[in-house]
């Protein structure tokens, strides 16, 4: 099923339409009917990006899908890649910089966290200009006892189509923590597929979308618990304004034999306009008997009594709304453990929401 929906920009038949259940809210074919031209070469400073102050280790930068070695990855999808095996707690960065009027690029890489290693991976999608088509795929492997904290900041342009997919394979006793923060694009999707072995492995798969104009963001995740005693928690929050559209599809599968699984999923969204839209599809599919699973989903507006209370104390309606909205979103940011990364993300969110 996963392979069938893997997008290759060189193959129109791989572009999913809304007839594919997993893509029904993010209809790629509606916006993309033919193979795009390969995006041109661009110059990208190697140590820029939103996390430049933090990164201490590997820095992999892609400019329109090309590494600094100059590969054009639109033609070589799936063959080029990068494998990092840090041997101490480190901060890594991967940057995908896009700048093209209508060209496409795709990039794929592998990323492995060694046994008992701990990496904070700072991943950024930086859209400079244009109606580019971006397609990134990363294969993560976290070996026994390893820990990967993946923090994604996505700043695509309002005209872009941007698809990012992560496949995550965990091992016993490993840990995967993810926080995706995005302002959307014309059509944008972040998909995370996690194979969860259980046996003490833990997953946190959080996300946040803050959308204006007619932007679209889709946060989709599938976490499959294959073995016993695994934990998953997920908190997704979103704010949509204007005619923007937020999509959350969260699926947690607990396979037969995955007893002792503890899985919790929450998605909460604010719609701050008459024509904004949020589509949410939380799914828990449970084949094991002895599990604890819960999900909560709310879509609403800001609390009127809180708004009045704040205005009564002197805040303008606008200030009160902004403060409440940020406070709502910050709950996701507060779950980022690494302090430096958390503060960078907080600053980014103050500027973006």
């Amino acid at each position: 099923m996963n392979l069938a929906t893997r997008i290759d920009l060189n193959d129109v038949s791989s572009f999913p339409s809304r007839r594919v259940e997993q893509w029904k809210y993010t209809d790629v074919r509606r916006y993309l009917r033919e193979v795009p031209a390969a995006a041109e070469r661009i110059d990208v400073e190697v140590d820029g990006g939103p996390f430049r102050a933090l990164c201490t280790n590997e820095y992999q930068t892609f400019g329109n899908g090309r590494t600094h070695e100059g590969d054009n990855l639109l033609k070589g999808f799936g063959r080029k890649g990068l494998t990092v095996r840090p041997d101490a707690p480190l901060l890594d960065a991967i940057r995908f910089v896009s700048d093209s009027a209508f060209g496409g690029w795709q990039a794929s890489l592998g990323y492995t966290v060694g046994p008992n290693d701990h990496v904070v991976l700072l991943e950024s999608y930086e859209g400079r200009a244009g109606a580019y088509i971006a397609n990134a795929a990363i294969n993560f492997v976290v070996l026994e006892g390893g820990r990967l904290d993946r923090i994604v900041l996505a700043d695509d342009t309002a005209e872009a189509i941007s698809i990012s997919r992560a496949d995550v394979t965990l091992s016993e006793g490993s840990e995967f923590n993810q926080t995706i923060l995005t302002t959307g694009a014309k059509l944008q999707r972040f998909e995370t597929n996690v194979t969860h072995p259980g046996h003490g492995a833990t997953v946190r798969a959080d996300g946040l979308y803050a959308l204006t104009g007619d932007r679209h963001a889709d946060l989709t995740s599938i976490v499959t618990h294959a073995g016993p005693d695994g934990q998953t928690s997920q908190l997704i929050k979103g704010v949509v304004r204007d005619t923007a559209r937020g999509v959350f599809q969260g699926k947690i599968v607990v396979e037969r034999g995955a007893d002792g699984t503890d899985a919790r999923m929450g998605h909460h969204a604010l719609i701050l306009s008459d024509r904004g839209e949020v589509d949410a599809k939380p799914e828990l599919i449970i084949y094991a008997d002895d599990v604890q699973c819960a999900h909560g989903n709310t879509v609403g507006n800001l609390d009127e009594s809180a708004l009045f209370y704040m205005q009564q104390r002197g805040l303008s309606a606008e200030e009160a709304r902004a403060l409440l909205t940020r406070a709502f979103l910050f709950e996701v940011v507060d779950r980022i453990e690494h302090e430096g990364a958390r503060e960078e993300v907080r600053t980014w969110l103050m500027e973006s929401s």
């Binding site: 609390d303 009045f308 009564q312 104390r313 002197g314 805040l315 200030e319 406070a327 709502f328």
Partner: protein, 249 residues
């Protein structure tokens, strides 16, 4: 002076206040007492500008300025402060951040200089000490997980820092034990002054043993039906509100 004249207020097209007239001169504390459903909380909300509380007739002026044309934040900047019967929890916004944001918003609206962080901290420390509040509590999200008494102290703390000139206390005694009541009342009394007016809304006489009013008004069925000195509160405590209900009906 707060001057309310022939004030009519509807909530969802249902008339609640029906021609309320009341003057509170500068420096005075007036108590509003009345049975449940008389419109006491509506009065507080309507004077402070809560959306949904529609003034259909009459006037409300504070220091000669019309309040009804102003939004809630503008009224706050003019000195109006409503202490809520049930203070609202604001998740994710630390109490300190909130109060400082509010204070500076009011100062900006009045064209005054904003207060600096160190100066603000100094003021908060002094004010929280007077109210016997744990300073660390102020780093927590506003009112979230606070007990009833802590929330009321938080209201008084905000009052002390924002220094409003027109104070409306809506059932400030509800949910307070006797020790907390005394602390809260001391906090309120410390704010009494020749330039400030206070409207103390309460169902019970008890609070008025601690905050001594200059005048007591009985609000029933949307109107002031009786006014008198502090002795009126004792009379109400002894006799109940029954005798005012036929008058209002």
């Amino acid at each position: 002076m707060l001057s309310i004249s022939n004030f009519h207020v509807s909530v969802a097209d249902t008339p609640i206040l029906k021609g309320l007239t009341l003057d509170v001169p500068a420096g005075e504390v007036h108590a509003i007492m009345g049975p449940n459903g008389a419109g006491k909380s509506t009065l507080g909300y309507a004077v402070s500008g809560r959306p949904g509380y529609e003034a259909t007739e009459g006037t409300v002026t504070w220091r000669g300025e019309d309040l009804l044309g102003l939004d809630p934040a503008e009224r706050a900047a003019k000195g109006v402060f409503l202490s809520f019967q049930y203070p609202i929890e604001i998740p994710g916004v630390p109490a300190l951040t909130f109060v400082r944001t509010a204070l500076n918003a009011q100062k900006r609206a009045r064209g005054e200089a904003e207060v600096s962080a160190p100066e603000f901290l100094k003021q908060v420390k002094a004010a929280s000490k007077a109210l016997k509040m744990d300073f660390d509590m102020l780093k927590r999200p506003l009112n979230v997980g606070f007990s009833g008494g802590e929330k009321k102290r938080m209201e008084i703390l905000q009052m002390a820092l924002l220094e409003p000139s027109l104070l409306i206390l809506d059932e400030t005694d509800s949910g307070l034990d006797i020790d907390a009541l005394r602390i809260v009342a001391d906090g309120v009394n410390a704010l009494r002054g020749p330039e400030r007016s206070m409207l103390v809304i309460t169902h019970y006489q008890r609070l008025l043993d601690y905050i001594k009013p200059d005048k007591v008004h009985v609000l029933a069925a949307g109107k002031i039906v009786a006014s008198g000195g502090p002795e009126l509160a004792h009379q109400l405590e002894a006799e109940g509100y029954d005798k005012y209900l036929p008058v209002a009906a």
